[in-house]
C-alpha cells in the first residue's frame, strides 16, 4: 500500500499508522473512511483528540485522568478515603469501577516496574503514594496490579516501602475465574487457589 496519490492522504495515513495495533493497511482503510465523512465530522474527531491531550489533567491526589484538579472519585464524600486501591493505569480504575464492588479511593501508578522496558520505581507515582500513606488517614492499601512478574515485583517494592508505616497491606484474590473450567486452568493459578482456600461460609453473602 505505497503509491498513495496524494500527499495529504499520505500524511494522514502515516499519522494513523503510528497508533498501537494499527498497521499501514488499516490506516489506509481508516483514512478513506474519513474521506467519505462530512468535513465537520472529521473536524469533531480531530479537535476532540487535540483538546483531550492539551486540556486533560491528572488528579493531584490519585493521578487518575480528570477534568479538574481533584478527580470525581477523590472529591466524592460518599466514598471511603481510608482505603486506597493501587492500580497500574487508568483502564484498571475503569475496570474496577465497572464491578460496582469498590467504594474506596484509588492510586494510579502509571505503569509497573520493568527493567526490560527501562521503567524503574522513580518513573512511577510511588513516592506520592508513600507520602499519602505517611499522612496517616489511610487504614488499608489494596494492591491490584496484574499477576505478572512485573506486577509482583512492583507489589513487593511497594510492600517494602510501606511495611513500617501503620497501614494494612492487602492484595486482590487470585484464583480460578468464575465460569472457568478447572481442567483448563493453569497450574500456578490452580495451585494458589488451593493454598489460599477459604472457609466455605465466606462465599454465602456474595
Amino acid at each position: 500500500m505505497n503509491n498513495l496519490s496524494s500527499k495529504l492522504l499520505e500524511a494522514a495515513v502515516n499519522e494513523l499508522a503510528k497508533l498501537p495495533g494499527i498497521g499501514r493497511k488499516t490506516a489506509v482503510r481508516l483514512a478513506l473512511h474519513l474521506l467519505r465523512q462530512n468535513v465537520s465530522d472529521v473536524e469533531v474527531l480531530g479537535n476532540a483528540l487535540i483538546k483531550m491531550r492539551s486540556e486533560i489533567c491528572f488528579c493531584k491526589i490519585c493521578f487518575n485522568v480528570s477534568d479538574t484538579e481533584v478527580c470525581d472519585i477523590c472529591s466524592n464524600p460518599a466514598r471511603d478515603s481510608g482505603v486506597v486501591c493501587v492500580v497500574e493505569d487508568v483502564r484498571d480504575v475503569m475496570a474496577i469501577e465497572n464491578t460496582s464492588q469498590y467504594k474506596g479511593h484509588y492510586h494510579v501508578l502509571g505503569g509497573v516496574i520493568s527493567p526490560m522496558d527501562g521503567v524503574g520505581p522513580g518513573d512511577l507515582n510511588i513516592e506520592p503514594l508513600v507520602n499519602r500513606i505517611r499522612e496517616g488517614s489511610v487504614r488499608e492499601v489494596i494492591m491490584a496490579l496484574s499477576p505478572t512478574m512485573e506486577g509482583d515485583t512492583t507489589n513487593f517494592y511497594i510492600y517494602k516501602r510501606l511495611k513500617d508505616l501503620k497501614v494494612l497491606i492487602t492484595t486482590i484474590a487470585r484464583g480460578v475465574s468464575i465460569g472457568d473450567n478447572l481442567e483448563y486452568t493453569d497450574e500456578i493459578t490452580l495451585g494458589r487457589s488451593i493454598t489460599n482456600r477459604l472457609p466455605y461460609e465466606t462465599t454465602f453473602n456474595r
Copy 2:
C-alpha cells in the same frame, strides 16, 4: 468500559469508536496511548486528519484522490491514456499500482451497485465513464472489480452501457492464485480456471 472519569476523554473515545473496526475498548486504549504522547504529536495527528478531509480533491478525469485537479496518473505523459482500468475504490488503484504491471489510466467508480445497501448506478461515477469513452480516444476498458455478486452486477451494467460504443471491453483474469494449493481452491474458481485455460506458451514471458 463506561465510567470514564473525564468528559474530554469520553468525547475522544466516542469519536474514535465511530471509526470502522474500532470498538469502545480499542478506542479507550488508543485515547490513553495519545494521552502519553506529546501535545505536539497529537496536534499533528488531529490536524493531518482535518487537513486531509478539507483540502483533498478528486481527479476530475478518473476520480482518484489527488492534491491537484488532475491526478499524477492522468497527467503523466508516459502512461497510455488509451487504456482505462475501472476499479471500485482508491485502494484498488494502490493495489494495482503496487504490481507495477499496469501503465494505463484508471476510473474509480466509488463503489459497486448494491441494492441491499441502497447503492444504485446513479450513486457511482458511471456516467462520467460513459462520457469519457464516448469521446473516442479510449481503445480498451479493463473491468477490475471484485469477483462478488455486486461486482459482477456492476460489470454487467457497465458492459450494457458501453457495448454500442467503439471500445474493447476486457476483464481481469480469474483463476487459481499463484502459490495456492489446488485442493483448497473453491470449486467456482477452479471450474473457471479450467474453462478459461490458456495456451501454455503464453505463460513463458511472464
